[in-house]
Amino acid sequence: QGGGGDGSTTTSGAAFDPATCQGGTLTVLNQGGINHLDPARLYTSGGGNLPSLLFRTLTTRNRQPGEAGAKAAPDLATDLGTPSDGAKTWTYHLRDGIQFEDGTPITSKDVKYGIERSFAPELPGGAPYLRDWLEGAADYQGPYKQPDGIKSIETPDDKTIVFKLRKPEGDFPYLATATQFAPVPKAKDSGVDYEKHPISSGPYQVESYEPKKSLVLVRNKNWSTKIDELRYACPDRIEVTSGLDAAVINQRLVTGAGQDANAVTTDAVVGPEQLAQLGTGSELDKRVTRGEFPSTLYLAFNTKKAPFDNPKVREALSYAINRTSVVNALGGSAVQGASTTFLPPQKALGQQPYDYFPAGASGDPAKAKQVLAEAGLTDLTVEVTHENDDSEGVGPKVAAAVQEAFKQAGVTVKLNAIDAATYRDVIGKPATQPGLVLTTWGADWPSGGPFLIPIFDGRQIITAGGNFNLAQYNDPAVNAEIDAINALTDPAAAAQRWGALDAKIGKLALVIPLTYEKDVYLYGKNVKNAYADGWRGQLDIARISVK
């Protein structure tokens, strides 16, 4: 298991006192900006932790480093929710005293309205789970077209909200952390323009916002630590600049001139430039956080397509893969770890290590050739499909490394680059899905469910598009096991069984896991209490201080 949050807590967490951290201006230097500051359009908890400074949700991430941070914690609600009806009904009560930035109290109706907005096609982009989970949500078109609202969310009073689900979902408290669970006052909703000034329920409110460029947050006077124990909200002001080059961001953080001493980044992982300076005990070493975002980079076989319908081919290629070169292509061992399991190594996901087709550090071409020969396959030519852009890690760099590894095993690889914008579209339609694609899967919350269900649940093969079960694998036994785990409301018990399921499916070589992600972030000289949360591996801005 990777470094987790341990390194960072020891360096900066020790003598931190949230009571005296107030003041100063925090600068955030980011590569990608926030396209839409609308809670309905933000995917789960995206936006580099910034949205959670504005949008409180029913539950939220437990803002701790390491394992503790991978749990959900009550936010607007008083607890993680009360399941009933075998985890098909979830009831939440709102805590007292919570207000919007304009002082109006937050009611359960506001939460419901916020969720309804995320169904509107005018506001696309949010997490899709509720459409599947909520009863009768499949053809709900949002409050603009259907002002009557959705029936399966009930608000018996201003403090209570009840969700009626189609099937048992033990992970509901995790989903309730998604930004679409943030309250939106109906009176202030201006549709697509709402994001110009979304009404805050968190410690800050928007002073100015330019999509993808800048965001300035100032204190929300109607928020206090009395109604929110999780966020420290130390800086008085947060200035986010986006659209910067990663190398420039890191160089500025290293140099730390002027305001840059108070700067952090939530999306520019250090590059080789800085890694080369990160010797143990070096000055710079004290200014990094190391975290892990549960995500796996893998090669997905389409088992409905020759030659990948032949398990021997999949096994041979699994032997041939050279994970070291993939790791190096993505920035080296400091930021990537070789992975032989589909589940990444986080405890919350319940990973159980396995390596059924040992390829060693740099591939076992001899074994691969042998397997192919046994299957009577020589002169094999396969096509590897990848994105044309490297930013997601599924681009030409990794594809070239894969190509080279397979070449060593005597397999000729044709690379097929697809425009990044349409990549998911092409591979997500079984009709257009190529035989072997390079792709990545990240957890929407730290649990095995969102990791395994879309990929291996046979009932999730969506022929019209948006499919993630690229193996097109459908085993009733596996489907049944998934349902069974879903009904569990104890995360620890669930994790154990998810891990076992992963280990079982792994034997089939439906995918070739390549690497899991490690995140190393630099921060400015004056920044205190900077640690990566245990949920996404990013800096938790809600607790950072510059004083």
Binding site: H36, P121, P128, P211, V248, Q251, A420
Partner: protein
């Protein structure tokens, strides 16, 4: 004059119309779908169709283009969410990606690209003309040699290579300058200049080479002309001949080049802006292309096309203003 302007305007409009139609057609033929991107992860086909409808990309392409043209000339209405948004003419639509009006986006980015172009142009002109004059007046032979060499070198370096070296030298090694970050002129002129200095230098290294050569050649050519001989024959001092007569003729070709160059910096600023991380229209374009943000791509292309058309016309007008012999036609 009026007739001339009229013809230029009509010609320019035709060019721009053709350009926009071209881009529209290209993106229509392209296999990408902006709605897929907007819809996000786990988007179902039904929802995709609804999103496509909401974004207005479900109509046939010619209809979309027609609406687009309407937007430019008379403005148009978008009914999204609970309200109807009116986009007044000239309306270039809304970004698929961020839902901002494209006109706002462009106006927002233009000052950056313009600052870049203007400063670089002034710097290049100063360096280029200065060096060209020194070399062209043939006062110092060694200087002529050096300028000549630099001119050739200037032709042979791509801007991103210069940019890389400048960043390495001034921001990393010497740390004399901050990493460029755009500060609006209105916020702090000094910071504005300080931050743009490196990009200016990078562009000037390349641009001034052409100016130096042109000035030098122009000067030597003009000095060889008959009317200069006349001036000499009438005892007019060399210095006066140089400043009052030769320079005028020598700098004439620069007029055209300068106007066209300003346009080309603004339009091809993609590289410089990427290199130095400046939020100008070049950066806007690269992002938009990657996100199939059609309204923004067309908007940028139209704007840059407009700048080129205007700059060319301005160059001709300027030329006519500076050279009494030129007749506009």
């Amino acid at each position: 004059m009026i007739g001339y302007l009229g013809r230029r305007i009509v010609g320019g409009a035709v060019v721009l119309l053709a350009l926009s139609a071209l881009i529209y057609a290209l993106f229509y033929l392209a296999p990408s779908d902006p709605a897929v991107l907007a819809c996000g992860k786990g988007c179902t086909p039904e929802r995709l169709a609804a999103v496509r409808e909401a974004m207005g990309v479900a109509d046939p392409i010619w209809q979309q283009y027609w609406h687009y043209l309407q937007g430019i000339f008379v403005g148009r209405d978008y009914s999204i969410g609970p309200e109807v948004r009116h986009c007044p003419a000239p309306c270039l639509g809304y970004s698929f990606e961020t839902s901002q009006p494209v006109t706002t986006l462009l106006l927002d980015r233009l000052p950056v690209s313009f600052s870049l172009a203007l400063g670089a142009e002034i710097l290049s002109l100063a360096i280029g003309i200065g060096a060209g004059l020194l070399a062209g007046a043939r006062r110092f032979r060694w200087l002529d040699r050096i300028v000549n060499g630099l001119v050739l070198a200037g032709y042979a370096v791509p801007v991103f290579l210069v940019g890389l070296l400048l960043l390495l030298l001034f921001c990393v090694h010497l740390q004399w300058l901050p990493f460029p970050q755009y500060v609006p002129f209105t916020t702090d002129p000094l910071l504005w200049a300080q931050n743009l200095l490196l990009p200016w230098i990078a562009l000037a290294v390349i641009q001034s080479a052409a100016y130096a050569r042109l000035t030098r050649a122009g000067l030597q050519e003009t000095l060889a002309e008959d009317h200069i001989r006349t001036a000499r024959a009438y005892g007019i001092p060399e210095r006066r001949i140089l400043w009052r007569r030769a320079l005028r003729g020598a700098l004439l070709p620069l007029v055209t080049l300068t106007a066209v160059d300003v346009a080309s910096i603004v339009t091809s600023a993609v590289l410089t802006e990427t290199m130095f991380g400046l939020p100008g229209i070049g950066q806007l374009l690269v992002g938009a292309v990657n996100q199939i943000d059609l309204p923004v791509v067309v908007g940028v292309t139209l704007l840059t096309g407009l700048i080129i058309v205007v700059a060319n016309a301005a160059a001709d007008l300027l030329y006519a203003a500076v050279d009494p012999r030129v007749q506009l036609r």
